[in-house]
Subunit: 283 residues, 2 copies
């Protein structure tokens, strides 16, 4: 159907249901122990929050998560279940960065950035490392782009192993900040968006991730909301796996023929599987 | 949650979405070629039908499938998509065996039995062989029981490799024909049932499968319709995999603590994943 051999890296089966545990644990386990004891804080629409909660629980240190009140209920509940404290905010009014920094300065907790940090990027890149252990012969790699941590880390790992490997990102049409930034040659900020790919709503690429994507990504491919939805349903009915909308964006680009025609074999990162079953039922 | 280490054999990821391809291909590929050219015919609520259609298409021979008109739509469509001819019947009025035999005698097609044949049973048993290659240390095995082909084949394979391994079946409370038959010491027939586990609606165990189950199965554990439903939802939301109701019956028995308390590690066969998304959405 895709016209290409598509090999899926199933991060929906990852601990915490998404790739985020890779970066969060790499970052948190690197904090010096006396500082780590004061805890960690993070802001996230969900999967990063859950990952931080899991990594903090593993070390036995407190975690505070700043989450939008309209984040998927499954993600809020899962984060709380790992023992973290949840602080809610309105993503159309409040600055989650400001709330996170205030908590960090008041408690001495370490802020765990969602994507724009070398240790986060390095952690996420292990998804590509594992993919290449299994499939050294693929000629391209595609991953969803929110803040760009996953794609930046995967691109560094992939290009380090095979400089000729072609790297693609995928974004929702209505959350195309990295697409626009690559066109413009500098970071562009877009207004808040309600894309169903709730993990990809970051308004602009990161300061650190963007130059990496500029250097390594051949293109960012755009998909419509309808294409994301139909891909989630396709992956469920045909592959029998649950992938959340954000996690299905790269697969949507491949299934809907957005790739250049000369690619034969591609590694596709299905980045997460944490989806409200109520929303799925509506679809 | 289960109080036991549960290792899942994911036959929902199998070709055709269920374990049935194992027995169907073992049977069909063994038909002498001049006879095979006249085609195959089978009656099935769905997964066996799809498996027969796939195996026949592989050989390039015609396949006719006798399916209840109220079988899950996804199963009927998938069977037709493999190039098979579908003949519908009413499972409360008609005899699918009679319809299947009539077609076989008229066309010279070979009838592919759904479970009660040594080659079918042997094929299904390869699910247990593979499970033991991965996990030689488990102390028990559990599989759903419809006609008994899967459990009989798996029990032969498992006991052959490790005679001390404990074997369990799982059935819906309202489709407990094998449970009743084991209690009675002979095959008992139950009235037609509407269990949501549509693949386990066979009214009695097979002539060939039943003595195998009598010899090897320690017990058949029963689960309610609600327990099956909640297990399908649990597997979807937590393991991120789609398992159909019939396929989730063994997992339901494990998750709802129906096993003897001294079992520590069990192989659980998730026998299929072909489920109407419309029905899932209603749940």
């Amino acid at each position: 159907m895709a016209g290409v051999a598509a090999h899926f890296k199933c991060e929906n089966f990852q601990r915490g249901g998404a790739f985020k545990i890779r970066g969060a644990s790499n970052f948190i386990f690197s904090i010096p122990s006396t500082q780590a004891a004061r805890g960690v804080v993070a802001y996230s629409s969900g999967n990063h929050a859950q990952a931080v909660a899991i990594a903090a629980a593993f070390l036995g240190i407190p975690a505070t998560l700043v989450m939008p009140w309209d984040a998927p209920r499954s993600k809020i509940e899962a984060t709380r279940a790992h023992g973290a404290t949840i602080v809610s905010y309105d993503r159309h009014k409040d600055s989650r960065e400001a709330i996170g920094k205030k908590i960090a300065s008041e408690t001495g907790a370490t802020l765990v950035p969602p994507y724009d940090h070398p240790r986060i990027i390095a952690g996420q890149g292990t998804a590509a490392l594992e993919l290449f252990e299994d499939l050294p012969e693929i000629d391209a790699l595609i991953a969803p782009v929110g803040g760009g941590g996953l794609l930046a880390g995967c691109a560094i790992a992939a290009k380090g192993l095979n400089p000729r490997l072609r790297i693609f990102g995928a974004e929702p049409e209505i959350a195309n900040d990295t697409y626009l930034s690559l066109q413009a040659g500098h970071r562009v900020e877009i207004p808040p968006t309600n894309t169903i790919a709730d993990g990809l709503r970051s308004p602009q690429p990161g300061e650190i991730t963007f130059p990496i994507l500029q250097r390594f990504a051949e293109a960012v491919l755009l998909v419509s909301e309808e294409e994301i939805k139909s891909t989630v349903k396709f992956l469920l009915s045909r592959l029998k796996i649950l992938v959340e909308p954000s996690g299905a964006v790269a697969a949507a680009a491949v299934l809907h023929h957005k790739l250049p025609g000369d690619i034969r074999s591609i590694g596709v990162i299905l980045s997460g599987g944490n989806m409200d079953l109520e929303l799925l039922a509506q679809w």
